[in-house]
Subunit: 377 residues, 2 copies
């Protein structure tokens, strides 16, 4: 193999593919990147056996070939170079890099030993605007379960219904739902298509595509998805993510979202968040923060107490209607939900002290956060 | 005790005194701040038994008194408040805080149990401009020894000679010396006064005073120093640090600094640092980076190799005179020294492959960094 490539392109590609490497200690080749030539491109590929990522960068290909070398070494090296052309050659299992003022050798492994990353060949696909889709995913992805005790909750649920997609995550203490209106092209997607994507795959999806100006395309098969972006207006892929899906049935989450409420409140978001933070200091091991809501007085008392540290209570003016209610939440769940909402005011809807609370941004009906209270003992 | 104080003053004071708390698990009261009234000020004090820090903030004192409470709880709470006046009251062992929209109680301990921080009462003192003095200390403080095997090297050495002060740190692999011209007032300081200040004290000194516009005053006693800043033009202290000194004789470090050199080089600092970083990737466990300096060719080759990873070599143009030399350094020691110099060009002076190298900024004769080479085996 012999190619010439701009430092910038190589560094960009490596930064995208390297993130999933380094987790596997038993199979060292998974810490490597497979470098190969494809037409007039250099292709970089990595995998952790669950996920595969590829990136294509335009290069002058003087001699075809492939090699696999430790990605962190190459990436660390390339990131320190100045803006210039790099000449890359492979001879047997060594990669040679040459620039104006340096010559470097990096030891690799035989590319035959690199695991094959399957492609998804399917006529079922759908297109999204990359930036707004990734932004929507980022609003829910942190709320899936971190344990594997219920595998289906450890992923993010995507469900297609007519002209909308719903993206949902829950750890059974709180649930976030983002609705996205489908306005891109699609093929072979039917009304009840849904799948559960592992959290790692979703995180990489956001890492790779969240700044891509343009479309990304999802290809579906029964057990995998493949997501691709393209170089400018061409059909040539720029970056590709392939992931397995999580098997199993996602719970009927819509059943737990109440539709009617006994108390409805509108709160200033920033002030509410800083009052919660203050109360969190005295919330002790249960993280319990109490809200005493009085629509008549037009205020909420936010309080917490700890046997060891002390106690605090603050008052905040609100707009509210309906019943008085006293309800306790884990401050972290409350805070993290609010933190994903971008509007100045938020709506908090309640059904007594034991029912789930529902948070919504006041100016965005496409986002919803449901939170279970800490029940009075 | 009852006082009224601005949030800003209290938060500032707490941020200064809290840094040395939380290290002691056997004596919980050391995690506390002693809050006391003094004339028209609130005084905050903390100690870790080696160091003591106090801070004075103007306050409306309605009732004298003192109490000690967990500093992190108070500091976390105060930092979250809006800009406003805080009413603080102590009753028995509880502190009550009240503002416009909140009321809070924090549980404390009896102030009688708080360790006494000794003051240094001495006629021996010297004044420095706080900002430039702290900047000078910061250039050497990271280079003292981190182990206690030679206690005198675990501190920073201050030595007064006629009209200059020298500040020195070494871990026996490298040594940094900063010279400061004394232009402030002083009293009772003689020509050969010197002391060794523990690293923690030096770090706090820089934390506390590095942004203080004005003078700081050092008071000496045989076993302690006290450093103070003052409120504006008054003689009322604003912040105070008291520290024990390290006993023992500092080594005669000046004897190891060569005065004449066989090879003298001038290098562009940034480029040299990035070449060292590149070479560090292949330097292996010894951190060894080799320099091959040729004054005749006007260049230096910077190289490293690792059995596992590969090897690299880069070339950089330099100005140099004297003998050719091949010399190896621990890249970390080289890099960290360069990182403390602010000039575009630096001088590297050498005496063969086994003698110490001396680095200096080309435009600042008040800073010096000596580094031992890795001897050829």
């Amino acid at each position: 193999m012999k190619i010439i490539i701009l430092k910038e392109k190589l560094a960009k590609g490596l930064s995208i593919v390297e993130k999933i490497t380094g987790r596997n200690l038993t199979l060292p080749i998974l810490n490597n990147v497979l470098i190969s030539t494809e037409d007039n491109s250099l292709r970089l590929s990595t995998t952790d056996l669950e996920l595969g990522i590829s990136y294509w960068g335009l290069a002058k290909v003087e001699e075809k070939g492939e090699i696999t070398i430790p990605v962190r070494t190459l990436s660390g090296f390339v990131s320190l170079l100045g803006e210039e052309k790099i000449t890359i050659e492979s001879k047997e299992k060594t990669l040679y890099l040459k620039g104006e003022n340096y010559k470097t050798q990096i030891k690799g492994l035989d590319s035959k030993d690199f695991p094959i990353i399957p492609e998804v060949v399917s006529d079922n696909w759908i297109e999204f605007d990359a930036i707004s889709f990734c932004r929507g995913i980022a609003q829910v992805m942190d709320f899936c379960a971190l344990t594997q005790s219920r595998p289906e909750l450890s992923g993010i649920y995507f469900s297609f219904q007519k002209n909308i997609a719903k993206i949902v995550a829950t750890d059974s203490f709180r649930l976030a739902e983002k609705t996205i209106v489908l306005d891109g092209a699609m093929n072979g997607i039917n009304n009840s298509q849904s799948f559960i994507l592992p959290r790692n795959a979703v995180r990489e999806l956001v890492n790779i595509f969240s700044e891509h100006n343009g479309k990304i395309k999802f290809y579906f098969s029964p057990s995998q998805v493949m997501i691709e972006s393209y170089i400018d207006e061409t059909q040539n892929p720029q970056a590709r993510l392939v992931s397995r899906l999580i098997e199993g049935e996602y719970p009927d989450y819509e059943a737990v979202i109440p539709k009617e409420f006994k108390t409805q409140i509108v709160l200033p978001k920033e002030e509410f968040m800083s009052q919660i933070k203050i109360a969190s200091l005295f919330s002790g091991r249960t993280n319990e923060v109490k809200l005493v809501i009085s629509p008549k007085k037009g205020n909420v008392l936010i309080s917490s107490q700890s046997v060891d540290l002390g106690e605090t209570e603050s008052k905040m003016a609100i707009e509210a209607k309906g019943d008085d209610v006293e309800i306790s939440f884990n401050y972290k769940f409350l805070y993290e939900g609010l933190n994903q909402m971008r509007s100045e005011k938020i709506m908090l809807n309640l059904n007594g002290q034991d029912g789930p609370g529902v948070l919504k941004p006041s100016d965005d009906s496409n986002y919803l956060y449901v939170i279970m209270p800490i029940k009075a003992s």
